[in-house]
Protein backbone atom coordinates (compact mmCIF):
# COMPACT_ATOMS: atom_id res chain seq x y z
CA UNK A 1 0.00 0.00 0.00
CA UNK A 2 1.32 3.44 -0.98
CA UNK A 3 2.32 5.44 2.12
CA UNK A 4 0.47 8.71 2.66
CA UNK A 5 3.71 10.69 2.87
CA UNK A 6 7.15 9.73 1.73
CA UNK A 7 10.20 11.78 2.70
CA UNK A 8 13.20 11.01 0.51
CA UNK A 9 16.81 12.14 1.08
CA UNK A 10 15.79 15.46 2.61
CA UNK A 11 18.57 18.03 3.13
CA UNK A 12 18.15 21.53 4.50
CA UNK A 13 20.81 24.07 5.45
CA UNK A 14 20.54 27.35 7.34
CA UNK A 15 23.66 29.11 6.20
CA UNK A 16 26.52 26.77 7.03
CA UNK A 17 24.47 24.77 9.52
CA UNK A 18 23.06 21.51 8.18
CA UNK A 19 19.71 21.36 9.97
CA UNK A 20 18.48 18.23 8.19
CA UNK A 21 21.04 15.77 6.86
CA UNK A 22 19.78 13.40 4.18
CA UNK A 23 16.86 11.80 6.00
CA UNK A 24 14.22 9.46 4.61
CA UNK A 25 11.10 7.93 6.14
CA UNK A 26 7.47 7.16 5.37
CA UNK A 27 4.22 8.00 7.13
CA UNK A 28 1.29 5.63 6.73
CA UNK A 29 -2.30 6.78 6.65
CA UNK A 30 -4.20 6.92 9.94
CA UNK A 31 -1.19 6.66 12.22
CA UNK A 32 0.30 8.99 14.77
CA UNK A 33 3.88 9.45 13.68
CA UNK A 34 6.39 10.97 16.09
CA UNK A 35 9.53 12.94 15.31
CA UNK A 36 11.57 12.86 18.48
CA UNK A 37 14.73 14.56 19.54
CA UNK A 38 16.19 17.37 21.58
CA UNK A 39 16.25 21.04 20.65
CA UNK A 40 18.34 21.49 17.54
CA UNK A 41 17.69 17.95 16.32
CA UNK A 42 16.07 19.19 13.12
CA UNK A 43 12.50 18.13 13.94
CA UNK A 44 10.88 21.49 13.27
CA UNK A 45 12.82 22.04 10.06
CA UNK A 46 11.81 18.58 8.85
CA UNK A 47 8.15 19.12 9.68
CA UNK A 48 8.11 22.62 8.15
CA UNK A 49 9.59 21.34 4.92
CA UNK A 50 6.89 18.65 4.93
CA UNK A 51 4.29 21.38 5.48
CA UNK A 52 5.67 23.39 2.50
CA UNK A 53 6.59 26.27 4.78
CA UNK A 54 10.25 25.91 3.77
CA UNK A 55 11.84 24.53 0.65
CA UNK A 56 14.32 21.69 0.92
CA UNK A 57 17.81 22.16 -0.49
CA UNK A 58 17.52 18.67 -1.93
CA UNK A 59 15.34 15.62 -1.60
CA UNK A 60 11.60 15.40 -2.00
CA UNK A 61 8.30 14.93 -0.22
CA UNK A 62 5.66 12.79 -1.91
CA UNK A 63 1.99 12.90 -0.92
CA UNK A 64 0.13 9.80 -2.10
CA UNK A 65 3.03 9.17 -4.45
CA UNK A 66 2.98 12.63 -6.04
CA UNK A 67 4.99 15.76 -5.42
CA UNK A 68 3.13 18.16 -3.17
CA UNK A 69 1.52 21.23 -4.74
CA UNK A 70 -0.65 24.18 -3.65
CA UNK A 71 -3.68 21.90 -3.13
CA UNK A 72 -1.73 20.12 -0.39
CA UNK A 73 -2.45 23.06 1.93
CA UNK A 74 -6.15 22.17 1.79
CA UNK A 75 -5.30 18.67 3.04
CA UNK A 76 -3.22 19.59 6.07
CA UNK A 77 -3.78 21.27 9.40
CA UNK A 78 -0.81 22.74 11.19
CA UNK A 79 -0.11 23.68 14.76
CA UNK A 80 3.18 25.54 14.92
CA UNK A 81 5.56 25.47 17.84
CA UNK A 82 5.52 29.27 18.12
CA UNK A 83 2.72 31.23 16.55
CA UNK A 84 0.77 34.43 17.05
CA UNK A 85 -2.69 35.41 15.91
CA UNK A 86 -4.31 38.67 14.98
CA UNK A 87 -5.10 40.58 18.14
CA UNK A 88 -8.47 41.75 19.47
CA UNK A 89 -10.32 38.74 18.06
CA UNK A 90 -12.23 36.22 20.12
CA UNK A 91 -11.58 32.49 19.85
CA UNK A 92 -14.77 32.16 17.79
CA UNK A 93 -13.79 34.97 15.41
CA UNK A 94 -10.33 33.49 15.03
CA UNK A 95 -11.78 30.09 14.12
CA UNK A 96 -14.24 31.71 11.68
CA UNK A 97 -11.38 33.68 10.09
CA UNK A 98 -9.37 30.51 9.46
CA UNK A 99 -12.42 28.53 8.34
CA UNK A 100 -12.90 31.06 5.53
CA UNK A 101 -9.37 30.56 4.26
CA UNK A 102 -10.17 27.01 3.16
CA UNK A 103 -12.40 25.70 0.41
CA UNK A 104 -14.26 23.51 2.87
CA UNK A 105 -14.32 23.51 6.63
CA UNK A 106 -15.72 21.59 9.54
CA UNK A 107 -18.73 23.00 11.39
CA UNK A 108 -17.60 25.27 14.19
CA UNK A 109 -19.63 23.36 16.79
CA UNK A 110 -17.68 20.18 16.04
CA UNK A 111 -14.36 21.96 16.48
CA UNK A 112 -15.56 23.48 19.74
CA UNK A 113 -16.56 20.04 20.99
CA UNK A 114 -13.43 18.18 19.84
CA UNK A 115 -11.04 20.77 21.28
CA UNK A 116 -13.13 21.57 24.38
CA UNK A 117 -13.40 25.26 23.53
CA UNK A 118 -16.96 25.91 24.71
CA UNK A 119 -15.93 27.77 27.86
CA UNK A 120 -13.49 30.07 26.11
CA UNK A 121 -15.17 30.50 22.74
CA UNK A 122 -16.04 34.18 23.30
CA UNK A 123 -12.80 35.07 25.06
CA UNK A 124 -10.14 37.32 23.54
CA UNK A 125 -7.58 35.03 21.92
CA UNK A 126 -4.78 36.85 23.74
CA UNK A 127 -6.29 36.11 27.15
CA UNK A 128 -5.96 32.34 27.29
CA UNK A 129 -3.90 30.07 29.51
CA UNK A 130 -1.19 27.94 27.91
CA UNK A 131 -3.39 24.87 27.68
CA UNK A 132 -6.41 26.80 26.38
CA UNK A 133 -4.27 28.50 23.77
CA UNK A 134 -2.86 25.17 22.56
CA UNK A 135 -6.39 23.77 22.26
CA UNK A 136 -7.48 26.80 20.26
CA UNK A 137 -4.45 26.42 17.96
CA UNK A 138 -5.36 22.76 17.57
CA UNK A 139 -8.90 23.89 16.67
CA UNK A 140 -7.44 26.16 13.97
CA UNK A 141 -5.37 23.25 12.67
CA UNK A 142 -8.50 21.07 12.61
CA UNK A 143 -10.84 23.66 11.07
CA UNK A 144 -10.34 22.50 7.48
CA UNK A 145 -11.02 18.87 8.44
CA UNK A 146 -7.52 17.96 7.26
CA UNK A 147 -6.36 14.51 6.33
CA UNK A 148 -2.98 15.16 7.94
CA UNK A 149 -2.42 17.03 11.18
CA UNK A 150 1.04 18.43 11.92
CA UNK A 151 1.61 19.17 15.59
CA UNK A 152 4.94 20.76 16.41
CA UNK A 153 5.71 20.37 20.12
CA UNK A 154 2.10 21.07 21.09
CA UNK A 155 2.60 20.47 24.81
CA UNK A 156 5.90 22.28 25.36
CA UNK A 157 5.56 24.62 28.30
CA UNK A 158 2.30 23.13 29.56
CA UNK A 159 1.88 21.89 33.13
CA UNK A 160 1.44 18.11 33.56
CA UNK A 161 -2.35 18.39 33.94
CA UNK A 162 -2.71 20.47 30.77
CA UNK A 163 -0.43 18.05 28.91
CA UNK A 164 -2.53 15.07 29.93
CA UNK A 165 -5.68 16.92 28.89
CA UNK A 166 -4.14 17.72 25.50
CA UNK A 167 -3.17 14.08 25.02
CA UNK A 168 -6.81 13.10 25.59
CA UNK A 169 -7.89 15.52 22.87
CA UNK A 170 -5.29 14.04 20.50
CA UNK A 171 -6.50 10.54 21.32
CA UNK A 172 -10.04 11.55 20.38
CA UNK A 173 -8.77 12.97 17.08
CA UNK A 174 -6.88 9.74 16.40
CA UNK A 175 -10.19 7.89 16.57
CA UNK A 176 -11.28 9.85 13.48
CA UNK A 177 -8.53 8.07 11.52
CA UNK A 178 -6.58 11.30 10.99
CA UNK A 179 -2.88 11.00 10.24
CA UNK A 180 -0.97 12.89 12.91
CA UNK A 181 2.65 13.94 12.63
CA UNK A 182 3.90 15.00 16.02
CA UNK A 183 7.22 16.45 17.06
CA UNK A 184 8.11 16.37 20.70
CA UNK A 185 11.03 16.16 23.03
CA UNK A 186 8.88 14.44 25.63
CA UNK A 187 9.57 10.73 25.21
CA UNK A 188 6.60 9.77 27.40
CA UNK A 189 4.32 11.77 25.07
CA UNK A 190 5.61 9.93 22.02
CA UNK A 191 5.35 6.58 23.77
CA UNK A 192 1.74 7.33 24.77
CA UNK A 193 0.50 8.76 21.45
CA UNK A 194 2.65 7.47 18.57
CA UNK A 195 2.42 4.23 16.65
CA UNK A 196 5.70 4.91 14.87
CA UNK A 197 8.59 7.17 15.72
CA UNK A 198 11.78 8.57 14.29
CA UNK A 199 14.47 9.64 16.72
CA UNK A 200 16.57 12.49 15.39
CA UNK A 201 19.69 14.22 16.60
CA UNK A 202 21.83 16.82 14.83
CA UNK A 203 19.79 16.54 11.66
CA UNK A 204 20.13 12.80 11.29
CA UNK A 205 17.82 9.89 12.02
CA UNK A 206 19.24 7.71 14.77
CA UNK A 207 16.50 5.12 14.84
CA UNK A 208 12.97 4.57 13.57
CA UNK A 209 10.14 2.12 14.04
CA UNK A 210 7.36 1.23 16.46
CA UNK A 211 8.19 2.29 20.04
CA UNK A 212 7.62 -1.15 21.55
CA UNK A 213 9.62 -2.90 18.84
CA UNK A 214 12.48 -0.42 19.25
CA UNK A 215 12.57 -0.95 23.00
CA UNK A 216 12.49 -4.69 22.46
CA UNK A 217 15.29 -4.42 19.93
CA UNK A 218 17.55 -2.33 22.17
CA UNK A 219 16.65 -3.60 25.63
CA UNK A 220 16.26 -7.24 26.36
CA UNK A 221 15.82 -6.63 30.06
CA UNK A 222 15.04 -3.97 32.60
CA UNK A 223 16.96 -0.80 33.45
CA UNK A 224 18.68 -0.92 36.82
CA UNK A 225 19.38 2.43 38.49
CA UNK A 226 21.61 2.86 41.51
CA UNK A 227 23.23 5.86 43.20
CA UNK A 228 26.69 6.57 41.79
CA UNK A 229 28.06 7.05 45.30
CA UNK A 230 27.31 3.40 46.14
CA UNK A 231 29.59 2.12 43.39
CA UNK A 232 33.24 1.76 44.27
CA UNK A 233 35.42 0.40 41.48
CA UNK A 234 34.46 -1.17 38.17
CA UNK A 235 31.67 -3.60 37.45
CA UNK A 236 32.02 -6.70 35.34
CA UNK A 237 29.04 -6.20 33.00
CA UNK A 238 28.23 -7.07 29.39
CA UNK A 239 27.02 -3.49 28.77
CA UNK A 240 28.21 0.05 29.38
CA UNK A 241 26.43 1.88 32.22
CA UNK A 242 25.34 5.51 31.68
CA UNK A 243 25.59 8.27 34.30
CA UNK A 244 22.49 10.39 34.72
CA UNK A 245 21.50 12.81 37.49
CA UNK A 246 23.77 11.16 40.10
CA UNK A 247 22.60 7.70 39.16
CA UNK A 248 24.19 4.89 37.23
CA UNK A 249 21.83 3.37 34.67
CA UNK A 250 22.59 -0.19 33.65
CA UNK A 251 20.73 -1.52 30.64
CA UNK A 252 22.06 -5.05 30.15
CA UNK A 253 20.18 -7.89 28.47
CA UNK A 254 20.70 -10.28 31.40
CA UNK A 255 19.10 -8.59 34.42
CA UNK A 256 19.80 -11.56 36.78
CA UNK A 257 23.49 -11.50 36.00
CA UNK A 258 23.65 -7.76 36.56
CA UNK A 259 22.06 -8.03 40.00
CA UNK A 260 24.41 -10.88 40.93
CA UNK A 261 27.38 -8.71 39.96
CA UNK A 262 26.06 -5.86 42.14
CA UNK A 263 25.67 -8.25 45.10
CA UNK A 264 29.16 -9.66 44.46
CA UNK A 265 30.57 -6.13 44.64
CA UNK A 266 28.76 -5.54 47.93
CA UNK A 267 26.66 -2.70 46.61
CA UNK A 268 23.70 -2.02 48.96
CA UNK A 269 20.48 -3.08 47.27
CA UNK A 270 18.21 -0.64 49.14
CA UNK A 271 19.20 2.20 46.77
CA UNK A 272 18.53 0.17 43.61
CA UNK A 273 15.45 0.51 41.41
CA UNK A 274 14.50 -1.73 38.51
CA UNK A 275 12.49 -0.02 35.75
CA UNK A 276 11.00 -0.95 32.45
CA UNK A 277 13.06 0.82 29.77
CA UNK A 278 11.42 3.71 27.97
CA UNK A 279 12.19 5.91 24.97
CA UNK A 280 14.25 8.23 27.13
CA UNK A 281 16.48 5.27 27.96
CA UNK A 282 16.64 4.44 24.27
CA UNK A 283 17.72 8.01 23.50
CA UNK A 284 20.44 7.71 26.16
CA UNK A 285 21.62 4.52 24.60
CA UNK A 286 21.65 5.96 21.09
CA UNK A 287 23.34 9.26 21.87
CA UNK A 288 25.31 8.48 25.02
CA UNK A 289 23.60 11.31 26.90
CA UNK A 290 20.17 11.90 28.34
CA UNK A 291 17.59 13.92 26.49
CA UNK A 292 17.41 16.34 29.40
CA UNK A 293 21.17 16.91 29.25
CA UNK A 294 21.05 17.55 25.52
CA UNK A 295 17.99 19.76 25.93
CA UNK A 296 19.56 21.85 28.66
CA UNK A 297 22.95 21.88 27.02
CA UNK A 298 21.81 23.22 23.68
CA UNK A 299 18.89 25.38 24.77
CA UNK A 300 17.05 27.62 22.30
CA UNK A 301 14.52 26.67 19.69
CA UNK A 302 14.55 23.55 17.68
CA UNK A 303 15.84 24.05 14.17
Amino acid sequence: MEPLLKVRNLVKHYGKVKAVDDISFIVREGMCFGLLGPNGAGKTTTIEVMESIHKADSGEILYKGKKIDRKFKEQVGIQFQNTALQEFLTVRETLVLFSRLYTRHRPLDEIIKICSLDEIINRDNQKLSGGQRQRMLLGIAMISDPQILFLDEPTTGLDPQARRYFWKVIEDIKKENKTIILTTHYMDEAEYLCEEIVIMDRGKILESGEPKALLQKHFGGAVISLPEKDVNGGLDLDCTPVHKDGYLKIQCHDTDRTIQELIRKGIPLNGISVEKPNLDDLFIKLTGSSLDAVRNGTGGDDR
Partner: protein
Protein backbone atom coordinates in the same frame (compact mmCIF):
# COMPACT_ATOMS: atom_id res chain seq x y z
CA UNK B 1 -12.93 36.62 -2.56
CA UNK B 2 -13.95 34.65 0.55
CA UNK B 3 -10.35 34.64 1.77
CA UNK B 4 -9.92 38.32 0.96
CA UNK B 5 -13.03 39.26 2.96
CA UNK B 6 -11.96 37.07 5.89
CA UNK B 7 -8.64 38.89 6.23
CA UNK B 8 -10.26 42.26 5.47
CA UNK B 9 -12.87 41.86 8.23
CA UNK B 10 -10.34 40.55 10.74
CA UNK B 11 -8.05 43.52 10.14
CA UNK B 12 -10.95 45.98 10.50
CA UNK B 13 -12.03 44.39 13.78
CA UNK B 14 -8.47 44.43 15.02
CA UNK B 15 -8.18 48.16 14.31
CA UNK B 16 -11.57 49.17 15.70
CA UNK B 17 -11.10 47.16 18.90
CA UNK B 18 -7.63 48.54 19.48
CA UNK B 19 -9.23 51.51 21.24
CA UNK B 20 -6.02 53.31 22.14
CA UNK B 21 -4.81 53.36 18.53
CA UNK B 22 -8.27 54.14 17.18
CA UNK B 23 -8.85 57.12 19.48
CA UNK B 24 -5.32 58.42 19.03
CA UNK B 25 -5.70 58.24 15.24
CA UNK B 26 -8.68 60.58 15.50
CA UNK B 27 -7.58 62.79 18.35
CA UNK B 28 -4.00 63.67 17.36
CA UNK B 29 -4.91 65.43 14.08
CA UNK B 30 -7.89 67.15 15.76
CA UNK B 31 -5.63 68.40 18.56
CA UNK B 32 -3.18 69.70 15.98
CA UNK B 33 -5.86 71.56 14.06
CA UNK B 34 -7.40 73.19 17.15
CA UNK B 35 -3.95 73.92 18.59
CA UNK B 36 -2.75 75.68 15.46
CA UNK B 37 -6.08 77.45 15.02
CA UNK B 38 -5.72 78.85 18.53
CA UNK B 39 -2.05 79.73 18.13
CA UNK B 40 -2.56 81.60 14.86
CA UNK B 41 -5.99 83.09 15.55
CA UNK B 42 -4.62 86.61 16.34
CA UNK B 43 -4.02 88.95 13.41
CA UNK B 44 -0.91 91.01 13.38
CA UNK B 45 -1.94 94.32 11.77
CA UNK B 46 1.21 96.16 12.63
CA UNK B 47 2.48 95.60 9.10
CA UNK B 48 0.44 96.01 5.93
CA UNK B 49 1.43 93.70 3.13
CA UNK B 50 1.55 95.26 -0.30
CA UNK B 51 2.05 93.08 -3.34
CA UNK B 52 3.92 94.62 -6.26
CA UNK B 53 4.14 93.62 -9.92
CA UNK B 54 6.75 95.11 -12.22
CA UNK B 55 9.65 97.42 -11.44
CA UNK B 56 9.06 99.85 -8.58
CA UNK B 57 9.48 103.51 -9.57
CA UNK B 58 12.18 105.37 -7.65
CA UNK B 59 11.63 108.27 -5.23
CA UNK B 60 8.05 107.56 -4.32
CA UNK B 61 7.28 108.33 -0.67
CA UNK B 62 4.64 105.58 -0.30
CA UNK B 63 7.18 102.92 -1.23
CA UNK B 64 9.39 103.94 1.68
CA UNK B 65 6.71 104.20 4.40
CA UNK B 66 7.52 102.32 7.60
CA UNK B 67 5.29 99.43 8.63
CA UNK B 68 4.55 98.52 5.04
CA UNK B 69 5.96 95.27 3.70
CA UNK B 70 6.35 95.08 -0.06
CA UNK B 71 6.29 91.62 -1.66
CA UNK B 72 7.21 91.31 -5.32
CA UNK B 73 5.25 88.86 -7.52
CA UNK B 74 6.24 87.73 -11.02
CA UNK B 75 2.70 88.02 -12.40
CA UNK B 76 -0.39 90.08 -11.79
CA UNK B 77 -2.53 86.94 -11.63
CA UNK B 78 -0.58 85.49 -8.76
CA UNK B 79 -0.59 88.76 -6.84
CA UNK B 80 -4.35 89.21 -7.31
CA UNK B 81 -4.98 85.69 -6.15
CA UNK B 82 -3.17 86.52 -2.90
CA UNK B 83 -5.24 89.72 -2.60
CA UNK B 84 -8.50 87.81 -3.10
CA UNK B 85 -7.61 85.56 -0.16
CA UNK B 86 -6.50 88.50 2.02
CA UNK B 87 -2.93 87.23 2.04
CA UNK B 88 -1.83 90.74 0.95
CA UNK B 89 -3.71 93.98 1.63
CA UNK B 90 -3.16 95.75 -1.68
CA UNK B 91 -1.50 95.09 -5.02
CA UNK B 92 0.39 97.73 -7.01
CA UNK B 93 0.74 96.67 -10.66
CA UNK B 94 3.29 99.13 -12.07
CA UNK B 95 3.26 97.41 -15.47
CA UNK B 96 -0.50 97.93 -15.90
CA UNK B 97 -0.62 101.24 -14.01
CA UNK B 98 -3.28 99.95 -11.59
CA UNK B 99 -3.64 99.39 -7.91
CA UNK B 100 -6.04 96.81 -6.51
CA UNK B 101 -7.78 96.49 -3.19
CA UNK B 102 -10.12 93.86 -1.81
CA UNK B 103 -13.49 95.39 -0.94
CA UNK B 104 -13.92 92.88 1.89
CA UNK B 105 -10.59 93.66 3.53
CA UNK B 106 -10.45 96.43 6.14
CA UNK B 107 -6.65 96.55 5.95
CA UNK B 108 -6.94 97.39 2.27
CA UNK B 109 -8.99 100.49 3.18
CA UNK B 110 -6.18 101.81 5.41
CA UNK B 111 -3.52 100.93 2.84
CA UNK B 112 -5.49 102.81 0.18
CA UNK B 113 -5.62 105.94 2.40
CA UNK B 114 -1.86 105.76 2.81
CA UNK B 115 -1.41 105.40 -0.94
CA UNK B 116 -3.65 108.46 -1.54
CA UNK B 117 -1.32 110.51 0.68
CA UNK B 118 1.45 110.10 -1.91
CA UNK B 119 0.25 112.47 -4.60
CA UNK B 120 3.17 111.57 -6.91
CA UNK B 121 2.10 107.95 -7.28
CA UNK B 122 -0.65 107.92 -9.91
CA UNK B 123 -2.32 104.52 -10.32
CA UNK B 124 -5.86 103.62 -11.37
CA UNK B 125 -8.10 102.04 -8.72
CA UNK B 126 -9.39 98.52 -9.30
CA UNK B 127 -11.13 96.20 -6.88
CA UNK B 128 -11.37 92.48 -6.33
CA UNK B 129 -13.48 90.43 -3.96
CA UNK B 130 -12.77 87.19 -2.12
CA UNK B 131 -12.94 85.71 1.32
CA UNK B 132 -10.09 85.60 3.80
CA UNK B 133 -7.78 82.58 3.92
CA UNK B 134 -6.68 81.97 7.50
CA UNK B 135 -3.61 80.00 8.45
CA UNK B 136 -5.88 77.20 9.63
CA UNK B 137 -7.54 76.98 6.19
CA UNK B 138 -4.10 76.65 4.70
CA UNK B 139 -2.98 74.19 7.40
CA UNK B 140 -5.90 71.72 7.20
CA UNK B 141 -4.79 69.99 3.95
CA UNK B 142 -1.38 69.56 5.59
CA UNK B 143 -2.89 67.88 8.65
CA UNK B 144 -4.97 65.56 6.48
CA UNK B 145 -1.77 64.74 4.58
CA UNK B 146 0.11 64.12 7.80
CA UNK B 147 -2.64 61.81 9.04
CA UNK B 148 -2.51 59.90 5.76
CA UNK B 149 1.26 59.62 5.98
CA UNK B 150 1.36 58.31 9.56
CA UNK B 151 -1.69 56.06 9.32
CA UNK B 152 -0.58 54.44 6.09
CA UNK B 153 3.13 54.02 6.70
CA UNK B 154 2.84 53.00 10.34
CA UNK B 155 -0.54 51.28 10.09
CA UNK B 156 0.48 49.10 7.17
CA UNK B 157 4.27 48.93 7.17
CA UNK B 158 4.72 48.56 10.89
CA UNK B 159 1.76 46.22 11.40
CA UNK B 160 2.84 43.76 8.69
CA UNK B 161 6.40 43.69 10.05
CA UNK B 162 4.93 42.93 13.48
CA UNK B 163 2.82 40.14 11.93
CA UNK B 164 5.95 38.73 10.34
CA UNK B 165 8.00 38.98 13.52
CA UNK B 166 5.50 37.29 15.81
CA UNK B 167 4.51 34.56 13.36
CA UNK B 168 1.05 35.71 12.19
CA UNK B 169 2.23 35.71 8.57
CA UNK B 170 3.76 32.27 8.94
CA UNK B 171 0.42 31.00 10.25
CA UNK B 172 -1.35 32.45 7.20
CA UNK B 173 1.30 31.05 4.90
CA UNK B 174 0.32 27.57 6.10
CA UNK B 175 -3.19 28.11 4.73
CA UNK B 176 -4.33 28.35 1.09
CA UNK B 177 -4.32 32.17 1.44
CA UNK B 178 -2.34 33.84 -1.40
CA UNK B 179 -0.05 36.76 -0.77
CA UNK B 180 -1.99 38.96 -3.21
CA UNK B 181 -5.22 38.28 -1.26
CA UNK B 182 -3.50 39.18 1.99
CA UNK B 183 -1.90 42.36 0.59
CA UNK B 184 -5.13 43.52 -1.09
CA UNK B 185 -7.11 42.96 2.11
CA UNK B 186 -4.59 45.02 4.08
CA UNK B 187 -4.68 47.74 1.43
CA UNK B 188 -8.47 48.04 1.24
CA UNK B 189 -8.94 47.78 5.00
CA UNK B 190 -6.42 50.53 5.67
CA UNK B 191 -7.83 52.62 2.84
CA UNK B 192 -11.31 52.58 4.39
CA UNK B 193 -9.92 53.27 7.85
CA UNK B 194 -7.87 56.28 6.69
CA UNK B 195 -10.57 57.73 4.45
CA UNK B 196 -13.04 57.36 7.34
CA UNK B 197 -10.71 59.02 9.86
CA UNK B 198 -9.85 61.79 7.38
CA UNK B 199 -13.55 62.56 6.84
CA UNK B 200 -14.24 62.48 10.59
CA UNK B 201 -11.30 64.78 11.33
CA UNK B 202 -12.20 67.23 8.57
CA UNK B 203 -15.93 67.27 9.33
CA UNK B 204 -15.47 67.33 13.11
CA UNK B 205 -13.06 70.25 13.11
CA UNK B 206 -14.91 72.06 10.30
CA UNK B 207 -18.00 72.33 12.53
CA UNK B 208 -16.04 74.67 14.80
CA UNK B 209 -13.54 76.27 12.46
CA UNK B 210 -15.47 76.60 9.17
CA UNK B 211 -12.69 75.92 6.68
CA UNK B 212 -12.49 77.61 3.31
CA UNK B 213 -13.63 75.26 0.54
CA UNK B 214 -13.54 76.94 -2.87
CA UNK B 215 -13.40 73.75 -4.94
CA UNK B 216 -15.36 70.52 -5.19
CA UNK B 217 -15.61 68.02 -2.34
CA UNK B 218 -15.70 65.23 -4.92
CA UNK B 219 -12.36 66.37 -6.35
CA UNK B 220 -10.89 66.60 -2.86
CA UNK B 221 -12.19 63.09 -2.07
CA UNK B 222 -10.64 61.68 -5.25
CA UNK B 223 -7.25 63.29 -4.63
CA UNK B 224 -7.31 62.21 -0.97
CA UNK B 225 -8.19 58.64 -1.97
CA UNK B 226 -5.32 58.56 -4.43
CA UNK B 227 -2.91 59.88 -1.80
CA UNK B 228 -4.07 57.22 0.68
CA UNK B 229 -3.56 54.42 -1.86
CA UNK B 230 -0.14 55.81 -2.71
CA UNK B 231 1.00 55.90 0.93
CA UNK B 232 -0.45 52.48 1.76
CA UNK B 233 1.52 51.11 -1.20
CA UNK B 234 4.63 52.81 0.16
CA UNK B 235 3.90 51.28 3.58
CA UNK B 236 3.54 47.85 1.95
CA UNK B 237 6.88 48.35 0.24
CA UNK B 238 8.54 48.96 3.61
CA UNK B 239 6.90 45.85 5.01
CA UNK B 240 7.92 43.39 2.31
CA UNK B 241 11.06 42.02 3.92
CA UNK B 242 11.83 43.39 7.36
CA UNK B 243 11.35 41.10 10.31
CA UNK B 244 12.34 43.57 13.01
CA UNK B 245 9.93 46.29 14.13
CA UNK B 246 12.88 48.36 15.31
CA UNK B 247 14.56 48.34 11.88
CA UNK B 248 11.29 48.92 10.02
CA UNK B 249 10.30 51.69 12.46
CA UNK B 250 13.69 53.35 12.05
CA UNK B 251 13.51 53.28 8.27
CA UNK B 252 9.91 54.51 8.19
CA UNK B 253 10.92 57.37 10.51
CA UNK B 254 13.82 58.26 8.21
CA UNK B 255 11.21 58.80 5.49
CA UNK B 256 8.43 60.32 7.60
CA UNK B 257 10.36 63.10 9.33
CA UNK B 258 11.82 64.73 6.20
CA UNK B 259 8.33 64.48 4.69
CA UNK B 260 6.93 66.23 7.76
CA UNK B 261 9.15 69.25 7.37
CA UNK B 262 9.87 69.39 3.66
CA UNK B 263 6.44 68.78 2.20
CA UNK B 264 4.84 72.09 3.26
CA UNK B 265 2.62 70.72 6.03
CA UNK B 266 3.42 73.49 8.52
CA UNK B 267 4.86 76.28 6.38
CA UNK B 268 4.94 77.30 2.76
CA UNK B 269 7.91 76.22 0.72
CA UNK B 270 7.80 79.52 -1.18
CA UNK B 271 11.07 81.31 -0.62
CA UNK B 272 12.91 78.20 0.69
CA UNK B 273 16.26 77.24 -0.95
CA UNK B 274 15.86 75.64 -4.41
CA UNK B 275 17.47 72.38 -3.23
CA UNK B 276 14.83 72.04 -0.52
CA UNK B 277 12.07 72.68 -3.04
CA UNK B 278 13.49 70.00 -5.36
CA UNK B 279 13.74 67.55 -2.45
CA UNK B 280 10.14 68.23 -1.48
CA UNK B 281 8.98 67.21 -4.98
CA UNK B 282 10.32 63.70 -4.32
CA UNK B 283 7.74 63.08 -1.61
CA UNK B 284 4.26 61.96 -2.69
CA UNK B 285 2.73 63.81 0.26
CA UNK B 286 3.95 67.15 -1.16
CA UNK B 287 1.91 66.52 -4.30
CA UNK B 288 -1.20 65.67 -2.28
CA UNK B 289 -0.94 68.76 -0.07
CA UNK B 290 -0.35 70.97 -3.08
CA UNK B 291 -3.36 69.53 -4.92
CA UNK B 292 -5.62 69.68 -1.84
CA UNK B 293 -4.71 73.33 -1.23
CA UNK B 294 -5.37 74.23 -4.85
CA UNK B 295 -8.79 72.57 -4.67
CA UNK B 296 -9.75 73.92 -1.24
CA UNK B 297 -8.26 77.41 -1.39
CA UNK B 298 -8.03 78.30 -5.08
CA UNK B 299 -11.08 76.37 -6.26
CA UNK B 300 -9.08 74.33 -8.78
CA UNK B 301 -10.71 71.40 -10.56
CA UNK B 302 -9.03 68.08 -11.34
CA UNK B 303 -7.56 69.59 -14.51
CA UNK B 304 -5.83 72.16 -12.33
CA UNK B 305 -4.04 69.46 -10.33
CA UNK B 306 -3.20 67.08 -13.18
CA UNK B 307 0.51 66.95 -12.39
CA UNK B 308 -0.13 65.98 -8.78
CA UNK B 309 -2.62 63.27 -9.86
CA UNK B 310 -0.16 61.84 -12.38
CA UNK B 311 2.69 61.77 -9.86
CA UNK B 312 0.56 60.10 -7.18
CA UNK B 313 -0.82 57.54 -9.67
CA UNK B 314 2.63 56.66 -11.00
CA UNK B 315 4.07 56.38 -7.48
CA UNK B 316 1.16 54.12 -6.41
CA UNK B 317 1.71 51.76 -9.33
CA UNK B 318 5.48 51.60 -8.78
CA UNK B 319 5.14 50.98 -5.02
CA UNK B 320 2.44 48.33 -5.50
CA UNK B 321 4.30 46.39 -8.17
CA UNK B 322 7.53 46.51 -6.15
CA UNK B 323 5.65 45.34 -3.02
CA UNK B 324 4.03 42.42 -4.86
CA UNK B 325 7.40 41.34 -6.27
CA UNK B 326 9.36 41.72 -3.04
CA UNK B 327 6.77 40.47 -0.50
CA UNK B 328 7.78 37.50 1.64
CA UNK B 329 5.66 35.81 4.27
CA UNK B 330 8.74 35.20 6.41
Amino acid sequence: MKRFFAIFMARNLEFIRDKATFIWTLLLPAFLIFGFAFAFSGTNNAVYKIGTVGEKPAGKAFLSYRHLQFISYPSGEEALNKLKHHQVDMVLDFDAGNYYINNDDTNGYIAEKLLASDLDLKLKRKTVTGTVIRYIDWFVPGVIGMNIMFSCLMGVGFVIVRYRKNGVLKRFKATPLRSIEFITAQLISRFLIVIFTSIVIYTGTNIFLHFEMSGSYTDLFLVTSLAILCHISLGLLFSTRFKSEEVAGGIINIVIWPMMFLSGIFFSLEGTPPAMQVASRLFPITHFIEAARKIMLDGAGLSGVTVSILVLTAATIIFLVASAVLFKWE
